[in-house]
């Protein structure tokens, strides 16, 4: 039986940009064997008995040698704010890896990664599993203070950075840069994207026939397929984001085309 329910030790939990934290956790061999980029961890908020639900956080990076899982997250509400107070040495109850994740067929060589805000986090993990592709990254941040991990992308991808207010690199939305790049260098084999809903909406208008996969968010209960609360409408059906997602073919996500 593959185990997905672990108690892991926090190795570090640090502020890396405005309100953005990077947490490093130990992980098991079991985890490393089955992990796929785009999967997520479902984390119990420690010591907060009044908060019953776990919090889903995408896996940002996996260090296979050190056996570490990295998570990048924004402290936005009760749970993630408490998470940001966790210290190195504390233990966390985690379900991982969950969800389908991104899958790259062998012939998908030219890969474009498109991320907005905290949605940039899961895209970095592509490289740890598929180091042999030709990556271009389009990263959109709100402003200079919010920029995180941009340099990491530059190490393996041709990286375009935008900020909404122009306080760092290009002013504007990364989907605009993507559109320009499409015209200039032609379509990639695949686009993988993560970000807020409005970001997906503009992406949907641009990608045309290019195979494009998006990682969706939804308020979740169990994370394990049991409660049917985490649905998004995909192909006319309410699909479970935790089990059948979070990654879906953009063209099947109904809410992006109405």
């Amino acid at each position: 039986m593959i185990k997905k329910h672990f108690t892991e030790k926090v190795l570090a939990n640090e502020l890396i940009a405005q309100n953005t934290y990077l947490m490093r956790l130990t992980c098991t061999e079991d985890f490393l064997r089955i992990y796929r980029p785009g999967q997520f961890a479902h984390i119990e908020i420690p010591h907060a008995k009044d908060l019953l639900l776990r919090r889903p956080i995408s896996i940002n990076y996996v260090d296979f040698e050190k056996k570490e899982v990295h998570l990048a997250y924004n402290a936005v509400g009760k749970g993630t704010r408490l998470l940001s107070l966790v210290r190195a040495g504390d233990m966390l109850d985690v379900l991982m890896p969950l969800g389908n994740g991104f899958q790259l067929a062998g012939d998908m060589k030219r890969v474009w990664l498109v991320g907005g805000g905290i949605g940039i986090a899961p895209l970095k993990s592509l490289y740890c599993k598929y180091p042999d592709r030709e990556y271009t990254a389009f990263l959109g941040y709100r402003s200079r203070e919010c920029v995180y991990e941009a340099h990491d992308f530059e190490l393996f991808a041709k990286t375009h950075i935008t900020t909404d207010d122009g306080s760092y690199c290009i002013r504007g939305f990364c989907t605009d840069v993507l559109r320009a790049e499409l015209e200039e260098s032609g379509p990639p084999d695949v686009i993988l994207a993560c970000g807020p809903h409005v970001f997906f909406k503009s992406l949907a208008k641009v990608v045309g026939e290019i195979p494009t996969f998006v990682s969706l968010e939804q308020h979740m209960g169990c994370g394990t397929g049991g409660c049917a609360t985490c649905v998004c409408k995909v192909g006319g059906q309410y699909k479970k984001v935790c089990l059948q997602g979070p990654v879906f073919n953009i063209r099947e996500v109904d809410s992006l085309y109405d």
Binding site: M1, I2, K4, H5, E44, K49, D50, L51, L52, L53, R54, D93, L95, Q218, H219, M220, G221, C222, T224, G225, G226, C227, A228, T229, C230, V231, C232, K233, Q237, Y238, L243
Partner: protein, 304 residues
């Protein structure tokens, strides 16, 4: 060693811990996380006559020590269930309970008849649904309507009938009596309490459906009280208690209040192997106090 077996309307459970309907999918999702054969039983997700899309998301909200949900009975319909999922789960070595829902009496009857000749052990009639034929009044909040639907389903059922009571009523014991009069073999309670969450900043409800059902430790005091009220009504039917059970001691409290078995719902959302662990904890608790049979707890509340 305490004998953990309990008998519910002629069906023997290995132990009193059953997963609650709607929180354990169709069980197969949990094979990865827990040893299903250690559970006393499994109540499957609600089944309806036709496939149901369910409510739009957001379908879940967190409240203080509670959870609101508005899944809206999403399910593939009983026929599709029998063709696919059932074939994969029917060999699971524990008691299997089908949760049956509908918008009119005929819906319930259809589902019960389709499940009659399967290896399902018990039917659980979910009466927290609005009755479309009677102006949307909830089946479970009106005594006559409740008695009526139970009577009709009982007529066609080849399995013992659990009637699952909704807590959204003035007098739970009266509803329990109506179900008993209609022919219920077992009573289970409580289903969720209707509630609502609001985002003050956006001024919108958190749930797309506006209201949802509250579950979890927040409702435990209400659930315990209702189990006790139904137990004291002396209807002679076994009771399955639930509402916020997170530990073996919680389970013991429900049995002391009058439950013969219990169901674990929200706890599974936090910990996929909660039901199994709660079973172990209950066993430990029973061993420690030197109980011969776990059933000896039932109704043992000492009120002097």
């Amino acid at each position: 060693m305490t004998d953990m077996r309990v008998n519910i309307a002629g069906v023997e459970l290995k132990n009193p811990i059953v997963t609650a309907s709607g929180t354990f999918g169709f069980a197969e999702e949990y094979a990865l996380y827990t040893d299903l054969s250690r559970l006393g039983g499994i109540a499957l997700k609600a089944l309806t006559r036709e496939p149901r899309l369910g409510n739009p998301p957001v379908r879940i909200a967190e409240t203080a020590s509670g959870v609101l949900n508005s899944v809206g009975l999403q399910n593939p319909g009983v026929d599709e269930f029998l063709r696919t999922t059932w074939l994969r789960i029917k060999e699971i070595d524990t008691v299997k309970i089908a949760n049956i829902a509908g918008a009119c009496v005929e819906d319930y009857i259809y589902v019960a008849e389709r499940l009659n000749d399967t290896g399902i052990d018990l039917f659980e009639v979910n009466v927290s649904c609005p009755n479309v034929k009677h102006g949307g009044v909830n089946f479970g909040t009106d005594e006559k309507t409740l008695r009526g639907v139970v009577e009709e389903v009982k007529k066609v059922s080849k399995k013992p009938l659990i009637v699952k009571l909704t807590p959204n009523v003035t007098h739970i014991a009266d509803m329990a009596k109506a179900a008993a009069d209609g022919g219920a073999d077992v009573l289970s309670l409580i289903n969720t309490i209707t509630g609502m969450a609001i985002n003050a900043v956006t001024r919108k409800p958190v749930l797309a459906n506006v209201t949802g059902g509250l579950s979890g430790p927040a409702v435990k005091p209400v659930a315990l009280r209702m189990v006790w009220e139904v137990y004291r009504a002396n209807l002679g039917l076994p009771i399955i208690g639930m509402g916020g059970i997170m530990t073996g001691e919680d389970a013991a409290e429900f049995m002391i209040a009058g439950a013969d078995a219990v169901m674990v719902g929200t706890a599974t959302m936090r910990n996929p192997s909660a039901a199994k662990e709660i079973g172990f904890e209950l066993e430990q608790f029973a061993d420690k106090i030197g109980l011969e049979r776990i059933g000896d707890l039932t109704g043992s509340l000492n009120i002097e």
